[in-house]
Subunit: 271 residues, 2 copies
């Protein structure tokens, strides 16, 4: 079907999901909205996250998207059920795919989750895991230092290592987990360091990669896949600094993102 | 939802899918039908496979299944589209989940597929892969010696190694693949040998494991997951030798399968 997939995020983290979508579904066209002006969502009250998310969704619905991907863990935790119930297109968040991949990966049913304060406090991963398998033991840890580090481009070096090591220490003490979910779309940028600190025996799950895989499941299931070859024309919108967004996009993607636009979101009523 | 998942296979191979379903979805109840009497389906004409598959489906529909899993590659290749279009419950085959996992796994877009004559000749994996990514190069190889070997319980030893090595030789010559799909539900029983012969650098995809993961996606998406804890009461039906089926089931599953029944399938009209 010749309509784009909408991807929303609080900022640039969702680009890790967009990148995987482009890689796994090279014929699909994306419209990405990053609310960089109001990033991060992690520490914001639930009502605010819901309102901001709806603003992005309203913008994308006007663009005739065929599917919505909530590429932000905090927004998924607070809005997924409501959006699924309200919209007449398929809606997928990043939490359930990460949970399902972890369930597939674990042998000992001990799963760790790291994410923002908002995601960890919401217990959304624990809920998603227990909905499928109530016998899973979940260890959650908020890592508030990671997002600012990624947004500043500090992705390696002794200082970054120190932060990652010290942050993950409480989870390492609880050494029984065999699977760790990166429950924030910024964290894949720190994956190598996280893997190193946690040890090679731990299976690290990137929710974004798993989400791209499940977008593919849903599109095929609903017969919404684009049916021939094309060079898709992606569009990226930012509510914040366009130059900075452009720089990060061109650092993160293999091919240059040509269509980057500034966007002012409108205060809106829920559907 | 308090209704079972139906799983059909030409014989015992689909038990690898059932085992993964039990592991990844421990609250879900299964009804498994193995048409061991007429196994293997691989060399049979398409019309025959379609008729036999419908016989199993009719039996399961009377059992009020909430979802159908075609845990047989040959049956998936020949009947998936028709069953999806006809039944009013979700239907999932083993081919698409394997294809999607391979697309997620590959770096160089060179994917190998091994399966029965029927599956390889149908080009069902190549079609599923190309529907998502037309740039993928698919190398298919029929391995007719593998199913009889597994059915006879020959899963290791120098003789089995020799068969696996010689069978896979043509695929090894085409050494550019980085991902190999086990496109037959019997093959996971030979996975270690196959991995050894192909080399550690090759990512081996078990379609069955991936199918269980996607059943979880679909059940959650349709709000069909069973919502609390229970010890499910699975039922297994065989059209062939019940004692042999029982022996294999108890070899393959961690917990004993208590309810194994003989079944005579009825010649039937398609819905």
């Amino acid at each position: 079907m010749d309509r784009p997939i909408g991807v929303i995020d609080s900022g640039v983290g969702g680009m890790t999901v967009a990148r995987e979508l482009m890689r796994q579904l090279p014929n699909e066209e994306l419209i990405y909205v990053g609310d960089t002006l109001r990033c991060p969502y992690g520490p914001r009250p639930k009502e605010e996250v819901i309102e901001y998310t709806w603003q992005m969704v309203h913008f994308l619905l006007k663009k005739q998207i065929k599917m919505l991907v909530i590429a932000c863990n905090t927004a998924t935790a607070f809005t997924l059920q409501e959006l699924k119930a309200t919209l007449d297109i398929p809606v997928l968040g990043v939490i359930q795919p990460g949970a399902r991949a972890a369930i597939k990966g674990t042998d000992n049913l001990q799963i760790g989750v790291i994410g923002t304060e908002g995601t960890i406090k919401s217990k959304a991963y624990a809920d998603a895991l227990h909905q499928i398998n109530p016998f899973i033991n979940v260890s959650g840890l908020a890592c508030p230092a990671f997002v600012p580090m990624v947004e500043q481009g500090v992705l390696d070096g002794p200082e970054a290592h120190k932060v990652v090591r010290e942050t993950l220490e409480p989870l390492k003490q609880n050494s029984s987990i065999d699977t760790l979910i990166l429950g924030c779309t910024h964290y894949p940028l720190l994956e190598n360091m996280i893997q190193q600190v946690m040890g090679e025996d731990i299976t690290v799950i990137c929710s974004g990669d798993e989400t791209a895989r499940e977008v593919s499941v849903i599109l095929e299931y609903y017969q919404l896949l684009y049916q021939s070859n094309r060079l898709p024309n992606h569009h990226f919108y930012t509510t914040g600094d366009k130059q900075l967004f452009e720089k990060i996009a061109n650092d993160w993607f293999d091919t240059p993102i040509l269509n980057i636009h500034s966007l002012q979101l409108e205060v809106t009523q829920q559907l």
